[in-house]
Amino acid sequence: MIEVENLTKQFGSKRAVDDLSFTVTKGEVLGFLGPNGAGKSTTMRMITGFFPPSSGDAKVCGISVIDQPRQAKTKIGYLPESAPLYHDMTVLGFLKFCASVRGISGNAKKDAVEKAIETCFLQSVAKQSIDTLSKGYRHRTCLAQSLLHDPEVLILDEPTDGLDPNQKHEVRQLIKRLGKDKAILFSTHILEEVEAACTRAVIVDRGRIVADGTPAELIKQSGTGSLTDLFRSVTTRDTEQPAA
């Protein structure tokens, strides 16, 4: 359902994403791993139609984000990295706004908002101003926004970043549950999350895929039975000079 074909993004002289190709099918939860600056967020921004790619294409449910961005965007639920929100709104107001922009109205809107609030455990703060929420709630409000239209494709950029262990657990369970009938791409640099929630994982480094497989395969590939070792051996650390 997500098909990424030779996606490349050039920022000036810097190539953030370098000829990346992969697919995510329905029912699959793909973990997108990599050190900071590997190009994970940039890739996701291209798939969601925020950044135009320098070359290559991404298709969502067969719709190209370059040729038909509006239609492609209706299929995607997206949680940006920093979980941006309109701070002057209430949780309810914000979700209603997002639903309206997505063309959901009337009773359908009410139901969609209610369901998203329930899924993300936001009942207790629904009428509160986003300004006054703690970080975990803010994050979940933004996550709720991505679920409103029950999208076929979910793209989550570090969905567990900055949450406490309980919240992390809840979000992982949620991803696992939603992954049964959606295609999910989520980025993380927490390796345990891969085993906990993913059906498959790719490791990217400096814009390229350096490892790809199910968690079990990757662990086998590491030779030592630890994902951390594999991660450390295939990615460049920012403390070392990149090979010329």
Binding site: F50, F51, P52, P84, D88, G93, F97, G103
Partner: protein, 243 residues
């Protein structure tokens, strides 16, 4: 349709925060205060309101219109919500129009609240209400022009203060260019062609004729094209920022 959704959100955001109220109150105090003091409203008996009332509007707008428009895109870029807008099925134009019309509506409210002065002149004398209406239209168009420029600047920066300073500078330039005293001084040192060029970017020429109750096509075209080009520029800047 989605432009309307954005419009509603922006408008309620203006009135959920002190911005709109502060700007409206300051506008009312300044416009009324200047009218009754320097404008010598009572003495010259200017029932058309041209000199006593509308004359001050460009001077007030050049400082206050950017205060309303400065957050439009800069805030969006600072908090990252632009990424949300950019990934919702919403065209850049709907977002631009929705935001722009919301800011313009705040000013429409402010202008509407100056109605007591219209009642006053009608009570005191027998004014040409057509000219007053056309004066209001001119005043609103000047304000919309300044808002469009502010919006263009706000697309360039994520910092509201930078946006405010730059747009005030641009608006002040547009008010000074074409202001009689300024062009007279300029005429002493520059060639007539330069003066002509400077006057053409100033607002007074177009504003004055509307004040006198003249609805000229050239003024409508001037305002419309200034606003349109600014909005077009906003759209171009926003998309170029992503690539």
């Amino acid at each position: 349709m989605s432009a309307l959704t954005v419009y509603k959100r922006e408008l309620s955001s203006y009135f959920a925060q002190p911005t709109a109220y502060a700007v409206i109150v300051i506008f009312l105090l300044l416009s009324m205060g200047l009218t009754f003091s320097f404008g010598q409203f009572m003495r010259i008996g200017d029932a058309s309101l041209e000199w006593s009332f509308f004359f001050w509007h460009p001077w007030i707008y050049m400082l206050l219109a950017p205060a309303v428009g400065m957050k439009l895109w800069s805030d969006e870029q600072r908090t990252g919500t632009i990424e949300l807008l950019g990934t919702l099925p919403l065209s850049t134009w709907s977002a631009i129009l929705g935001k722009y019309l919301a800011a313009a509506s705040v000013w429409l409210v402010a202008l509407a609240l100056t109605f007591p002065i219209v009642l006053t002149v009608n009570h005191l004398g027998n004014p040409d209400n057509g000219a007053i209406l056309s004066g209001y239209i001119g005043s609103f168009l000047v304000c919309c022009t300044f808002l469009a420029i502010t919006m263009l600047v706000s697309a360039c920066t994520r910092d509201q203060v930078v946006c405010l300073i730059v747009s005030v500078a641009a608006c002040v330039t547009m008010v000074l260019c074409g202001y009689d005293d300024f062009t007279r001084e300029l005429g002493k040192i520059a060639s007539p062609a330069i003066v002509e060029g400077v006057v053409s970017i100033g607002v007074w020429d177009h504003f004055r004729s509307l004040n006198r109750g003249l609805l000229r096509l050239q003024d409508a075209v001037w305002f419309a094209s200034f606003i349109f080009v600014s909005l077009l520029g906003t759209s171009a800047i926003l998309s170029s920022k992503r690539s």
